[in-house]
């Protein structure tokens, strides 16, 4: 029986390391009308091909041989570099049908999974379903591709009204988008609605996430435990359970959960990083060292490689009193991340610490000089957590002035963030400057509170235009300060409520909200502002 020629005129790419399998699938694709089919057995070559030609369909085997780039890494690289057009279909071919669950936590997901072996009828049926879905979601996908979440939400709502057959997929997307824009109560209610009909694992996971982000930790924990109880291979549930446990103060158990997840998916680089950080926090240096090493190795084939894995590993090696090893790792980091100033600075500072440990006075001196010149060229672009590390290193190297300057900046940006302030105090304490630290924190708090109060006063006195001006200036100098950003957003929202909305102001509010979400997605005031923003933009 002739098959439907649904691939006529489509550009296809087939990636598999077995040539016989490629031959057989190529025949299938041809029997579905494809005349333009490229194939390769190598992941690097696959990425080159994707960069050169805009494919409509990519069939990619997950396992491409030991120590080779795998299918997931190809997908990540292609999406990360944005060389894959949004309408392209990416299907991951796997040997096991549990892959979907194990790969769940990945940042980038394929359109579907296909278990080997398959017949051409099965391939046809699957392709038809994916194409239909892609078609249904085309306009939404387009909005998502330009990160326009609010338009995408609106389109979801419109479609849901007509009770289509892919209702659950639309509800799922709507709930996920609600989380992305910070509307957790909406997400919670959608997931609850689904879970009441059927306790589907993905809906339970979403519900748990929404609860966690609304800081309902105990409820969230119950949900994640329920998922794992039913589906032991659902790794994403372990990740979130670990987050909940950490929030509840049980970081040992949180580490255990991440280790269980990694048994199921040892190649997940982001999870390895999370485990390394957590193990370091738990003072489990052996696990931290191993996980940072894994992250460094996995990073070689991944778009998620980061200098932090190298400096993290070097830090563990310094703690273990093996500075020679640390120096080697830091040199690697500087070679790989040559153009990244912040990373180079961190690595240089740590080199200084290693030289100090080894008693190499000359090398120590040249490291400090190099660090100083790097630092003077990059002010104001480093996030708080990295800044604290950098300041800590400057303190240890005896450069107290520089360190104090950085600390001041961090505190200004986080005057109400107890977590960061606690870490800042720890940095002072370990530099034997406990009292100086307490004093600086208290004074800086007062300074920022005054700035904030001055702005709030303008609002109270009805001087909205001036308040907007005042807070925009304050916010641009304190990009990580959530209260200042929240008040800047609020002043602007009030202004629009009174004088009508403009695109310019709406976009500015969106930027403030994004800024707060990056710093603290669970901030209560953020929720309130999102609700006002939603009401205003939907009106």
């Amino acid at each position: 029986m002739p098959l439907k020629l649904i691939l006529e005129g489509k550009r296809c790419l087939l990636v598999d390391d077995f040539s016989e399998f490629r031959y057989s699938v190529k025949k299938m694709l041809q029997s579905l009308g494809a005349s333009d089919v490229d194939d390769t057995g190598d992941g690097d070559e696959a990425i080159d091909k994707i960069a050169l030609k805009s494919y409509d369909l990519i069939l990619c085997d997950y396992n491409l041989g030991e120590n080779k780039r795998d299918g997931q890494q190809i997908l990540e690289e292609a999406k990360h570099k944005e060389i894959l057009k949004y309408s392209a279909i990416f299907i991951m071919i796997t040997a096991e049908n549990t892959m979907r669950m194990v790969m769940g936590a990945m940042e980038y997901k394929p359109d579907d999974y296909l278990t080997k072996p398959f017949t051409k009828e099965a391939l046809l049926a699957r392709l038809e379903k994916i194409m239909e879905k892609k078609n249904d979601f085309a306009t939404i996908d387009k909005a998502l591709a330009r990160k326009d979440y609010h338009s995408a939400l609106k389109m979801c709502n419109d479609k849901i009204q007509s009770k289509p057959k892919n209702l659950y997929e639309l509800l799922k997307l709507k709930a996920e988008l609600s989380i992305t824009v910070g509307d957790y109560p909406e997400a919670e209610s959608i997931y609850n609605q689904i879970v009441n009909i059927r306790r589907l694992p993905w809906a339970l996971l979403g519900l748990g996430k929404a609860l966690f982000l609304s800081t309902k930790h105990m409820e969230a924990k119950e949900i994640f435990l329920e998922i794992i109880d039913e589906n032991r291979s659902f790794v994403e549930a372990y990740d979130w359970l670990a987050k909940v446990l950490e929030a509840l103060g049980d970081s040992k158990e949180a580490q255990r959960m991440l280790m269980r997840a990694l048994e199921l998916s040892p190649k997940a680089i982001l999870r390895q990083k999370a485990l390394a950080d957590l193990a370091y926090k738990n003072n489990d240096l052996a696990t931290a060292e191993n996980s940072y090493k894994q992250a460094v190795d996995l990073g070689k084939n991944s778009c998620f490689k980061s200098a932090k894995d190298y400096t993290g590993l070097a830090q563990v090696m310094l703690d273990k009193k093996t500075p020679e090893k640390a120096l080697k790792v830091l040199q690697d980091s500087k070679t790989i991340f040559t153009n990244d100033r912040e990373s180079t600075l961190q690595a240089t500072l740590m080199q200084g610490l290693a030289h100090k440990e080894l008693g190499n006075e000359a090398d120590l001196k040249s490291s400090i000089e190099e660090a100083n010149s790097l630092f003077s060229g990059m002010k104001g672009t480093v996030n708080s957590v990295a800044s604290l590390d950098i300041a800590g290193s400057f303190f240890k190297l005896g450069e107290a002035d520089k360190a104090n300057q950085i600390m001041q900046d961090v505190i200004r940006n986080n005057h109400d963030n107890e977590k960061v302030l606690k870490k800042a105090q720890e940095v002072f304490t370990s530099a034997d400057m406990q009292t100086e630290g307490e004093r600086m924190i208290a004074a800086t708090k007062r300074e920022i509170i005054k700035v904030n109060n001055d702005g709030v006063m303008l609002v109270k006195n009805g001087k909205l235009a001036e308040a907007i001006d005042f807070f925009s200036k304050a916010a641009s100098g304190l990009p990580e300060n959530k209260i200042i950003n929240a008040n800047a957003a609020q002043a602007m929202l009030m202004y629009m409520q009174k004088f009508g909305k403009t695109d310019k102001h709406v976009n500015q509010v969106q930027r403030y909200l994004d800024q707060i979400r990056k710093v603290d997605p669970t901030y209560k005031k953020y929720q309130e502002l999102v609700a006002v923003y939603k009401k205003l933009t939907e009106a």
């Binding site: 029986m1 049908n97 549990t98 669950m101 072996p117 051409k120 099965a122 057959k165 659950y168 291979s233």
Partner: protein, 231 residues
């Protein structure tokens, strides 16, 4: 030094052998497809006889897939992937996948199902069960098959009816008490297919309800009737 006991896990060995056989067989099926297409192109009338060859190979393949799925379920390596599916589409896919054999054996199929009937289940698993049941029916039915789906008492009921001689009494008795897993696989009283169907159905749960299967000989076509109940 301790002497290490060689620990042979026979199930795992079988599973890996089955995995390998399944891959070879599916290559074989694909090549066979090409041969059939080629014969048709050059007008070889005997090509149609290859259909039977295809049918038997597919039966073996189905059995291997079921064996492997049972192994994975048993070892907790498989978690159901429950999605919300159109029954109409499910039926259409079933008919398309078996079209060659239906034509060859001159069996007509009718389907009966509301257009907007959707249900929650693991699509791969359930199509596997229905496919192999349908495959078996080819052996026993005379000229007709009927696929029926309806909602009954909070369950989705999917039935495959035929106009053959019906199921033997011992099988019907074995599935009549659906609250317990009832097919005695060890006595050889039934095939793998029903055993598999029963387990897959049982894995489908919703709140306090579990899925089950039922066999009877009292359907509208006068032959055997296989029914799958999913909560």
């Amino acid at each position: 030094m301790d002497i290490e006991q060689r620990n042979i896990d026979f199930a795992t060995i079988i599973a890996s052998a089955v995995h390998d056989m399944k891959n070879s067989l599916s290559m074989l099926l694909n090549y066979l497809d090409d041969v059939v297409d080629y014969f048709k192109e050059i007008d070889v009338p005997e090509a149609v006889q290859l259909t039977h060859l295809h049918y038997e190979a597919k039966r073996v393949n189905n059995n291997l897939i079921q064996l492997l799925s049972l192994y994975r379920l048993d070892k907790s390596m498989y978690s159901l992937n429950i999605t919300y599916n159109s029954i109409n589409e499910l039926f259409n896919d079933l008919v398309i996948q078996n079209k060659t054999m239906l034509d060859y054996k001159n069996i007509s199929v009718e389907t009966e199902c509301e257009d907007d009937l959707f249900w929650f289940f693991d699509l791969d698993m359930i199509s596997g069960v229905l496919n192999s049941t349908m495959n078996n029916s080819f052996r026993y039915t005379k000229s007709k098959l009927r696929l029926v789906a309806e909602v009954e008492d909070g369950y989705l009921k999917i039935s495959i009816e035929d106009d053959g001689g019906g199921y033997p009494k011992n099988l019907i008795d074995a599935t009549s008490n659906h609250r317990e897993k009832s097919i005695d696989f060890t006595s050889g009283s039934t095939g793998l297919g029903l055993f598999f169907a029963e387990i897959v159905a049982d894995y489908h749960t919703n709140k306090d309800k579990r899925g089950y299967i039922n066999l009877c000989n009292t359907c509208s076509l006068g032959g055997g009737c296989f029914s799958l109940y999913l909560p």
